[in-house]
């Protein structure tokens, strides 16, 4: 298990063609994430975090370099459904009930109705939404909608989770609760996770490792192992290492904002 690769980026750059010229969004990123590791990516907005994540997901292709997901090239990993992507917005289909939204990936995989609804119900239970199976998305709060989208991501039991600021739109208290839920979920499932966030404390609380990216063009300027006792609980936030990590990352972020723009 430990010698398997969860995520790997080799010399990855991304240039966008825009009406005003070319734009270097991601610049020579090299990153290796062992299977089972939780890695957060933090950096100024517009620095290329989403672009990097979308390239791992094969939703965008790199201009140079290559990316691997679960020991496969990212395009193959997408086709073999080795990852699940959690978007910043819940991205639920408004015409489908909670149950059907959660079951969607299994439907697409061609699983029978009975099986997919059974698994979907388990996942809905896991994110604490039993009783809401037949609601439509608009009848739920933002936090509940995002829980539905996480349940949907978990239904295929993917070895890799790619999460793009999934809790960015939530209030502080809901976000803390969701962080704890994510930790608890992963205690049983051990996926490799790449988690994008703006919040330093969220990154420290959740991660085994935090990567800091510079302002555009996005480059990795720091790679920090988080040293906190497992399992992570509310206590973790009070641990002396927690504030030490937060302070260190804040320092790197200040550098990131000051990094010269090309």
């Amino acid at each position: 298990m430990s010698n398997e690769i969860g995520l790997e980026a080799i010399g990855v750059s991304k240039i966008f063609d825009t009406p005003t010229g070319t734009l270097l969004a991601v610049d020579d990123v090299n990153l290796k994430v062992p299977a089972g590791e939780f890695i957060s990516v933090i950096g100024p907005s517009g620095c290329g975090k989403s672009t990097l994540l979308r390239m791992f997901a094969d939703l965008d292709s790199p201009t140079t370099g290559s990316l691997n997901v679960a020991n496969l090239p990212s395009s193959e990993a997408r086709i073999q459904r080795k990852y699940a992507f959690v978007f910043q917005a819940p991205t639920l289909l408004p015409w489908k009930s909670v149950l059907k939204n959660v079951a969607l990936p299994l439907k697409i995989m061609g699983k029978g109705k009975e099986e997919r609804e059974k698994v979907a119900k388990e996942m809905i239970h896991l994110v604490g939404l039993e009783g809401f199976e037949n609601r439509l998305p608009w009848q739920l709060s933002g936090g509940m909608q995002q829980r539905v989208s996480i349940a949907r991501a978990l239904t295929v039991r993917p070895p890799v989770l790619l999460m793009d600021e999934p809790f960015g739109a939530l209030d502080e208290i809901t976000r803390d609760r969701m962080n704890q839920e994510l930790v608890n979920l992963r205690a049983t499932q051990h996926q490799t996770v790449m988690f994008i966030t703006h919040s330093i404390s969220e990154a420290v609380f959740l991660s085994d490792r935090v990567v800091v990216m510079s302002a555009r063009p996005g480059r990795i300027i720091a790679d920090i192992e988080i040293d906190l006792p497992e399992p992570r609980t509310a206590e973790s936030r009070l641990h002396p290492n927690f504030s030490a990590h937060v302070t260190a990352i804040r320092g790197y972020l200040v550098d990131a904002y000051n990094a010269p723009q090309k």
Partner: protein, 258 residues
């Protein structure tokens, strides 16, 4: 609070058309009365209403036949639009070409080619259904195409799930375009009724509103003709009501305030 807003809705939405309609009827009624217009030229509204009531069952039967022809034509045009747009929407170029053709076809008075239809299908239901299909298709097709061309963040979701063409269409593209399909239906349904009646007028099954209107008008049975015209109006309103009901059904996945 809720009751009050409902009242306001009825007053603001329904009162103006009802008022306008009443004034129109009053002018018509008094014009016929004071000018002493002969019933062969223009019957007064209350006489038309009387004719409508006394001839209700026959008109009802004719209206149902007319509705049947219009509905089949509308259905065929919708199905055709869905199938053709469904197989071309992923190609922007092809969709663009078809869009231009449809926009042109929409601008033409399609009923004028009804005589050609009768050459192929004879005078009767088949020809009527054909002309309604031909007339409605460009209208419906444009809406369907526009609906299918929609994009949202769900496209990336489908991509990330490695969804095949079928699931993309059934689970995303089709339901995402429902508001466009409904707009298409709202635009097409009344037009389908009009095309049907006009085509029937120029040669349709005897037991339909259009053929009846022609028969009665050529026999100078003006009152009977107006009864049938009133029936056509009622049919139009009924169709409008049906479309609104379907519309309401499909809007249940949005918040009520939307």
């Amino acid at each position: 609070m809720k009751k009050e807003s409902k009242l306001i809705f009825w007053v603001t939405r329904l009162a103006p058309p009802i008022l306008t309609f009443s004034v129109f009827i009053a002018i018509w009624e008094s014009y016929v009365y004071f000018k002493d217009i002969s019933v062969i030229l223009l019957p007064s509204p209350h006489k038309v209403a009387g004719e409508f009531v006394s001839n209700f069952w026959q008109l009802n039967k004719f209206a149902r036949n007319t509705l049947f022809e219009a509905a089949i034509g509308l259905f065929a045009a919708t199905l055709l639009s869905l199938v053709i747009a469904g197989s071309t929407y992923s190609s922007r170029k092809l969709s663009g070409i078809l869009e231009n053709y449809s926009a042109l076809a929409k601008a033409l008075p399609t009923v004028a080619i009804y005589p050609i239809c009768t050459v192929f299908f004879g005078i009767g239901t088949k020809a009527i259904v054909a002309i309604v299909t031909i007339g409605i298709f460009p209208i419906m097709f444009l809406y369907v195409l526009r609906g299918f061309a929609g994009v949202s963040e769900h496209d990336a979701l489908m991509e990330s799930l490695s969804a095949g063409k079928k699931h993309r269409f059934v689970d995303l593209v089709l339901p995402r375009s429902v508001s466009y399909l409904m707009a298409g239906l709202r635009a097409s349904a009344p037009t389908a009724i009009i095309i049907t009646i006009v085509a029937e007028y120029f040669g349709g099954e005897v037991r339909t509103l259009g053929a009846y209107i022609r028969r009665e008008s050529s026999n100078l049975h003006t009152l009977e003709m107006w009864g049938a015209i009133l029936a056509a109006c009622v049919l139009g309103l009924a169709v409008f009501g049906c479309v609104s009901l379907i519309d309401r059904y499909f809007s249940k996945w949005r918040p009520a305030s939307d």
